[in-house]
């Protein structure tokens, strides 16, 4: 019986997960090394990859900072009532439930060139939708819960007694955070950051809507793949996709390794 289930499981994993990944690697090499490198080094690919990289950095920094702070407030702050905290807590999870396309749509509806806010900013020379800021905002929305959800359980688990002890020994806000709280949450922040980077790398729907997918201006690696497929340029699409997949898998493996190191 046991052997049956194990074999079945292996088959499912091989077919469902293994085969597709292998296929991508295969496809990227359809026209050999030159095909692969061409797909990657063409100017639109370089630009798209850099765009993705830029968004990754910006989003990780912003959501890292605000995420950790919000997690701290939601778990420790005495100045927020428990009811308020509960409501905020449920709201934090909302981006998980929102389809990426809808996420992009919301940004366009609020800040698009036809809206009050959007046209105002446009006149000031700041373009949001169809430009980098809009893409950043859409990605911030989509990745918002990731770091918070990693940090909060850890904060809850370690309890606030160490922090109280630090206060009684004379330490104020920053000292207490840096010397007592941060060492305890450091790793969960790392996990959250890794998840955020992976998610940002892969973000597609929201960015597609908000960016307009303008070649050389607002195209990211994922929207480039989309465009390549639509244009039947499969080898090139594969090349970029492989790079993305490799990064994502690499991040996943890094997380596993980091977790197993901590456990030992």
């Amino acid at each position: 019986m046991k052997a049956l289930w194990i074999t079945l499981t292996f088959i499912v994993f091989a077919v469902l997960l293994g085969a597709p990944v292998v296929r991508i690697a295969y496809g990227a090499w359809d026209e050999g090394w030159s095909g692969f490198s061409e797909g990657l080094t063409r100017p639109e690919a370089v630009h798209a990859l850099m765009m993705t990289g830029l968004i990754v950095v910006i989003v990780t920094l912003i959501n890292g900072l605000f995420g950790v702070m919000l997690a701290l407030y939601l778990v420790r702050a005495k100045w927020l009532g428990p009811q308020v905290k509960r409501i905020m807590n449920s709201i934090v999870d909302l981006p998980f439930a929102v389809s990426p396309v809808i996420g992009g749509l919301m940004i366009v509806l609020l800040l698009g060139p036809d809206t009050a806010l959007g046209s105002l900013l446009d006149q000031a020379g700041v373009k949001i939708v169809y430009a980098l800021p809009g893409m950043v905002i859409a990605t911030l929305f989509v990745t918002f819960p990731l770091i918070i959800r990693e940090v909060m359980p850890v904060l809850q688990e370690i309890g606030d007694q160490q922090e109280e002890a630090a206060h009684l020994l004379g330490a104020y806000g920053w000292t207490t955070f840096w010397r007592v709280t941060w060492p305890s949450i450091r790793w969960s922040v790392v996990y959250g950051v890794v998840l955020t980077v992976a998610r940002t790398l892969g973000e597609f729907g929201a960015v597609l809507v908000v960016s307009g997918n303008i070649l050389f201006k607002t195209q990211t690696a994922t929207t480039l793949v989309y465009e390549d497929v639509e244009n039947f340029n499969l080898t090139a699409a594969n090349a970029v996709a492989l790079v993305l997949a490799a990064c994502s898998v690499g991040l996943l493996l890094f997380m596993e390794w980091a977790k197993s190191r901590r456990a030992s």
Binding site: Q162, A165, A166
Partner: protein, 355 residues
């Protein structure tokens, strides 16, 4: 007075945790806050530390009102029940923390750490991390850390609750000695009677957010001022109908009065064991339990069941035995008053032979 508290009140939601608490503690005293769980003792301690804000009331250190001082500025050493050691710092770093915050010069910090490590018997453990220490060792680190910045007041929240019973005893005497040596004013919270009695100069019994009584252990034992205190210290039996016992008939003149009888007040034995035989009454043994160092005897006197201890030196009693019971005194209480009543017959015995 070193620490004074006036009219302290604290509510958590609908629950009144601390109700109009007032007390004063002199410099160098070791006070135990004793009482059942949920009674408010920890809340009082935390308000003294500045970790909670009282709803109303004043807290004064050396006559100065400290309500608005944050915990950082109160000059207090606090020892938590679960140690609250900084897990990712070594023993030495834990102890040094308060001093680094106060920006002491490095050599002075080193010196102080060495002093405290010596004092708390942790020599050789300076580079260890909390998870490499036993419970007793961790608590000593917590103690050292709290004392490092030379606080004026030491607060301890059930410091031994999380420690194994055997180590607890050793730590208790160690703590007592340490505090005596340093002469630092200390207040500790416990729900363990024996601990309070053993360690503290004076005890405050706290129940339902109120101070029931403050005094030395002996005072509290001898003169309990409320029924709660009487029943809390030691083990007692509540007797509804005290007037039915020989020597206590006078109690009938106060209707609605109940009594608390401590095992120590009751003597049980064969006729030949009693000098004041005329003051005894008949009883029948219902149960005996061996307690390691004595017998626990449950004896039925008429409608009343009494509990007492019997030395191992005396003859062994069995359930069903007819015995004589002498009740020396009882603690009586009703809605208005409470007092200790001696067995009248003891005084009227014609042949008082006191050895």
């Amino acid at each position: 007075m070193h620490v004074e508290v006036r009219g302290l009140n604290k509510k958590f939601g609908d629950f009144q945790a601390v109700r109009n608490v007032e007390f004063a503690i002199g410099k160098g005293q070791l006070i135990g806050l004793l009482g059942p769980s949920g009674g408010g003792k920890t809340s009082i301690l935390r308000m003294l530390a500045g970790l909670e804000k009282p709803d109303t009331g004043d807290i004064l250190f050396h006559g100065r009102r400290v309500n608005d001082l944050p915990p950082q500025e109160r000059g207090i050493g606090f020892v938590f029940q679960n140690y609250a050691l900084f897990k990712h710092m070594t023993v030495a770093q834990n102890i040094a923390f308060g001093l680094e915050v106060k920006k002491w010069p490095k050599p002075k910090i080193k010196e102080r750490i060495a002093e405290l490590v010596e004092l708390t018997g942790l020599a050789g453990f300076e580079k260890r991390y909390p998870h490499q220490l036993s419970g007793g060792q961790r608590q000593r680190v917590a103690f050292a850390r709290a004392l490092a910045p030379e606080p004026q007041l030491l607060l301890l929240d059930e410091p031994f609750a999380a420690i194994d019973a055997k180590i607890r005893h050793e730590l208790r005497s160690w703590l007592r000695e340490m505090i005596d040596r340093l002469g630092i004013t200390s207040i500790f919270v416990t729900h363990d009677q024996d601990e309070a009695i053993e360690v503290a100069d004076e005890i405050m019994i706290i129940n339902k957010g109120q101070v029931e009584q403050k005094g030395t252990p002996w005072e509290i034992y001898q003169n309990p001022q409320t029924p709660f205190v009487a029943s809390f210290i030691g083990e007692s039996t509540v007797v509804e109908n005290i007037a039915s016992l020989r020597g206590f008939e006078d109690a009938a003149s106060w209707p609605g009065t109940r009594a608390l009888i401590r095992p120590e007040y009751v003597e049980v034995g064969q006729e030949n064991e009693f000098i004041l035989l005329s003051a005894t009454e008949r009883g029948r043994v219902s149960h005996v339990h061996f307690r390691g160092s004595e017998w626990l005897v449950e004896v039925q006197v008429g409608q009343i069941k009494l509990v007492t201890y019997r030395s191992l030196e005396k003859s062994v009693l069995k359930p069903g035995d007819e015995v004589r019971v002498l009740v020396h005194r009882a603690y009586l209480f009703n809605d208005n008053d409470n007092w200790v009543m001696e067995n009248k017959l003891k005084q009227e015995d014609p042949l008082p032979v006191h050895i």
